[in-house]
Point group: C2
Chain length 117, copies 2
DNA sequence: ACCTTATTTCGTTATCTGGCGAAATATAGC
DNA sequence: GCTATATTTCGCCAGATAACGAAATAAGGT
């Protein structure tokens, strides 16, 4: 029961749904998500810890960055069902589509670090 | 997006998951759920309004009682997916099983009204 | 009309949540 | 070791949430 409510709580915030749908496209570091969501890095970090705690995403350190990715079917009993449902509900959502488009255009090395604009 | 988060918020409380799983068994009036959940009737009523607002359940007045039931596939785009997932996650949960057993034993006319114990 | 039972609405309270900025931690390059 | 960048943790605040009891509303039986 606890497991289930933890997952649904994790899914009950629009910014966290945006994160999951972005991670469906590719692995992302925190600063990329900060850029797209327009939230403070501390806020995004907290959202990520909630999603990680629900076993929906995993983090992998890579140099100075932490790459986040969706859990795989092996790693989570629920991820497949969850993402299927999110696709069904959100694949055509304006904001989700916008995020996805922005993702294809942006590059981590432009967003993070030197070019701060 | 709003629709999705409304549904996941509705699903993020253990008492509301218990309600949905109970309604999977049969239609119930508020006082039956009050009895099983051991919550104040005002609290249960509020939970029901949250589930109704997410289009997961419907209410039907019947004499002095209000019967609640799960939405049908015709009435909700999401109910089928949601309940399939809850079954998967909770069908063997101790509390859910306990609620289900209690449901088969109890009778509305014993719970509501005269026999208040 | 009156009383009982069922349910909802209202007002209150304690706790949880999402947001921020600042400070702490970690890594890379000089 | 120092600096810059990336991320997390901490402390705070405003608004949401779950709980309760009491009052209001609805419907049935006498």
């Amino acid at each position: 029961m606890r497991k289930a409510t933890t997952i649904y709580k994790a899914l009950s915030d629009p910014n966290r749904l945006r994160i999951l749908m972005m991670l469906r496209e590719k692995r992302l570091c925190v600063c990329e998500m900060v850029d797209i969501l327009s939230l403070a890095n501390s806020t995004v970090s907290k959202h990520l810890s909630i999603l990680r705690n629900a076993d929906l995403i995993l983090d992998e350190k890579s140099g100075r960055w932490v790459n986040y990715r969706l859990a795989t079917t092996d790693e989570s009993d629920d991820i497949e069902f969850v993402m299927a449902q999110l696709d069904r509900q959100l694949a055509n959502d304006d904001q989700i589509v916008g995020d996805r488009e922005k993702l294809t255009v942006t590059d981590r090395f432009e967003i993070c670090g030197v070019a701060s604009g």
